[in-house]
Amino acid sequence: MVTPDWSAPPRPPKINFVAQESTAANSLLARPLDRLAAVIVDLFVVLAPLYILLSAPLKKWMTASFLMGSEAEFASTIAGMVGIAVGLIVVYQTFMHYFFAATVGKFLFDLRVVAMFPNERVTCWDCFIRAWAWVGEVLCLGLPMLAVFSNNKRRPLHDRMCDTIVISRNAGGVLAPALWEQTVVRGMFGFLIVGILVIALVEVRTALEKIKSDTAFAALIDRETGACEVVSRNINEDGEVKEHERLELAMTLYAAGLADRSCLEAEVEREVAMQTPVGAVTYLAQAFVYADEAEVSNSYLDEVCESAPGTVECAMSEVVSKWSDEDWEAVEDSLTRAPRGSGYLEVWGIRHFMKQARYDKALALLDNLAVHKPLSDFSMVQRVKALFNSYRAPEAEAALMTAVSALPDNESKDLSAWVCAQQLQSGCAALETSACGQLNPADGEKIGEIDFEMSNEALARVLAIECQADGKMDYKSFGEAVNSEDWRMFFQANVKRQSDDKNASAHLFSQLILSPDAPELLKVEAARRWAQFADRKQTEELFQQWRDIPSKEAWVKTGNFLFKRYTEMGDHKLALKVARYLMNDQALAPQALAALANMQESKDTGKRAPASIKRKKGSEEE
């Protein structure tokens, strides 16, 4: 058996724990660092083990209340734990100071708490008050304790309250703090107080602003009921609310972009809470909620038709499946076969037909939506766009007037800007139209006044400024002032166009058309401007890009610009080719149709292309 090597140090002096007659008069003051070390020993060596044992049951309770989300219980356990900590400190300090004039930590560092004045002794009550004052100072982040550096006798508040002083019984004690020490600490203390006040003021201000913003923008989810607030606003709760009615409305609002996914989720949770039996619409809603997880979402979509074949929900699930596969014919087929009246299916139908530039069908569905009051804003906006895009200008103007009076300010402004920008593409005379009149596009004459985040309005204003500048617009300063990369490219392309550098301009416009993040209308405008000056080679490039434009609406508008350019260039063969594509989708503008008729009259082009020509990405020319 081998004994370990203890390597004991030389014997140190024996510490005498018996209190000697040390007084404030005949002793040095305690060194602040020794006092701090004594506190650390008391808190972490002596009291911490006791505390963790005593507070253990509360800790368990605290965990359980945290898991259960019970804020009241959680707060009460925290309060209990703080209470135990304070109680332990007060009892320990009172007991030790009264009976031994020192705590364990103070014994280790040879410090004693004695009466400040001769012929007085520290009473139990003094010790009790001193302990409470000490706790109070700790709760003030220990700042009052900095008095050990500034007070002449190194006495913080708790010592001064009870006429006590902490002295050192060995040579490690110190004298009163030097003047510079007092000044530095007092200055620091002042700075700290000012700093704390400033932070507190900033915090209060931030909190007030937060409260204001919370009040201004109603939270999406009603915190009390856990339901979606936008649904609650739009549901008619006077009559009997049918099973799944709220969820169906949430689906409709979600389809129209008036509610987000969390709203659907909240309504599904609400159904769980209300013990509503799970139905096909629940599965359908879940498919949207978990749209980011393909496996889960597809399982829900499959379940919809398994549990309720031939229903609206089943048709909707088919639409969603085919939509994600971009099988537009199948989407249209499902939409045509599906029963009407759900609301959300109609909205998806409108979105589909608008996307496919089938405005007549979209308008037909919009007529069906009239019964759904929550969708009136959505219907009005879509109607104006559908009418305008199907070249029914007078009806579009009338619909716009109705919409502007009914829509919220920002939406009405955006819609007017959308119409105005496109009207201005046909010429500056459009400044006199009601759409541009609603917008007052000439108001934003300076670059700083245009919000380029609102792309429709920004484009309308830029076009209006161009009209007023009469071809002498300073595109360069616009390009330097904007933050958006796409807008900057747009202005740079115009600068090049102004300086007659057609190749560079065409390149920049081409880049803008290909940019994935550029606003749709800006892309169309870029194509229009490019088409205006493009030579034969550049027109060929534009033609190639045009065939690959993913958005049907932009494709139709660009195609009409291209047709116009070919007609102007006298290239009837290519103009006819573009016209065939557009006619195939019933998208040739009336002016273009008239031009085509003139072309047919003046020059016999022979056979017309069959109507079955399809526009396909990357396909060879017919």
Binding site: P4, A8, L33, P49, K59, A64, M68, T282
Partner: protein
């Protein structure tokens, strides 16, 4: 902070068994990390999937509603909240459900009144989880509800869940194990190590109950060794390192305190952990530590009793070191004065 370091690090020649155990644990750690990597990653991925966990929470809530007997009140309350449609609580309950083997075993035959798609997907995932668990070394070597055979009562000692877990346990083993081996010999130390480990497993099974979350680690066995050492050297001065959180002279150094201080410190920490942690939540097996301490205590008392019956050699005198000496907290000139 106070930490026992006793006589410091005792080398391979004087404590070969201790170092062999450390080496064996290291080999097992490397092996389990290498072989269990895929399964561990798969399990962590599943547990992070909010959809799966919240579905599990909903299914478990319904299960608790139907089988309330034997489950703690807070779990029943949590289940009730989930059934009332609180999605955050569903995730919490779903995480807690991973430990309930009875519930997980019932997954195949269970019925669920609710979202059938979620339920089907959950059942499929649970089957995957079970498969991954069967490949995971912590499950094949650790003590879990699937297998509580006697071999597991020993094998779990040598498995650690990660590098930090391993380093923590081995640090105490080389300090206390080597010191004990130097005192009682390698064979006795190893027997104490294994007995304490087995006793700790038994205590854990009895007081906390084994779950699907496996019990792994040498902490129970190491606690037994530490307890035996402390009891055998009850009043002897042992060296502790202390640090009073300040980077100043005198705030860090060594102190000589009786060996029992270490035992009391650890006992308090484990008792507080036991009383302060919900069995369904905690990650540290405090009851296994308490079991290890009980084992060390029983062995120490047995040895003491045997020595009383058959006294052998005179006990070695304690080294001439006074208690409660702090150095270098006080300058050397002070503690040399009376020397």
């Amino acid at each position: 902070m106070i930490f026992p370091i006793l006589g410091g690090l005792i080398g391979w020649r004087r404590a070969p068994i201790t170092w062999s155990i450390v080496f064996l644990n290291l080999i097992v750690l490397l092996y389990t990390t290498a072989t269990g990597f895929e399964a561990q990653k798969g399990l962590e991925d599943v547990m992070r999937k909010s959809y799966f966990v919240s579905t599990q929470g909903r299914v478990y809530a319904q299960y608790l509603n139907e089988h309330a007997a034997g489950y703690p009140d807070f779990l029943i309350e949590l289940g009730r909240q989930v059934e009332l449609g609180e999605p955050e609580r569903a995730e919490v309950l779903g995480q807690l459900a991973f430990r309930d083997l009875v519930f997980l075993n019932d997954a195949d035959t269970m019925e669920f009144n609710g979202d059938q798609v979620a339920f089907r997907l959950w059942k499929r995932k649970i089957a995957d989880v079970r498969l991954m668990q069967s490949d995971h070394p912590s499950f094949t070597l650790g003590l879990n509800a699937e297998d509580t055979s006697m071999t597991k009562w020993i094998s779990y000692i040598f498995v650690h869940s990660g590098v930090m877990h391993f380093l923590g346990n081995m640090l105490f083993l080389v300090i206390f194990g080597a010191a004990l081996e130097a005192q009682v010999g390698g064979l006795a130390m190893m027997v104490v190590f294994l007995l304490s480990g087995a006793f700790a497993a038994g205590t854990f099974a009895l007081m906390t109950g084994v779950t699907t979350s496996p019990l792994v680690g040498a902490s129970g066995a190491v606690t037994g060794i530490m307890t035996l050492y402390c009891v055998m050297n009850w009043k002897r001065p042992a060296r502790y390192f202390y640090w009073l959180f300040l980077p100043a002279r005198g705030f860090m150094g060594f102190v000589y305190l009786p060996a029992w201080v270490a035992l009391v410190m650890w006992a308090i920490s484990d008792l507080a952990g036991y009383f302060g942690t919900l069995a369904e939540v905690g990650g540290v097996a405090h009851t296994a530590h308490l079991g290890g301490q009980a084992a060390g205590l029983i062995i120490a008392l047995t040895v003491y009793g045997l020595r009383q019956l058959w006294p052998q050699t005179e006990p070695q005198p304690a080294p001439d070191v006074p208690m409660c000496v702090l150095y270098p907290l006080l300058p050397p000139k002070h503690w040399n004065k009376s020397a």
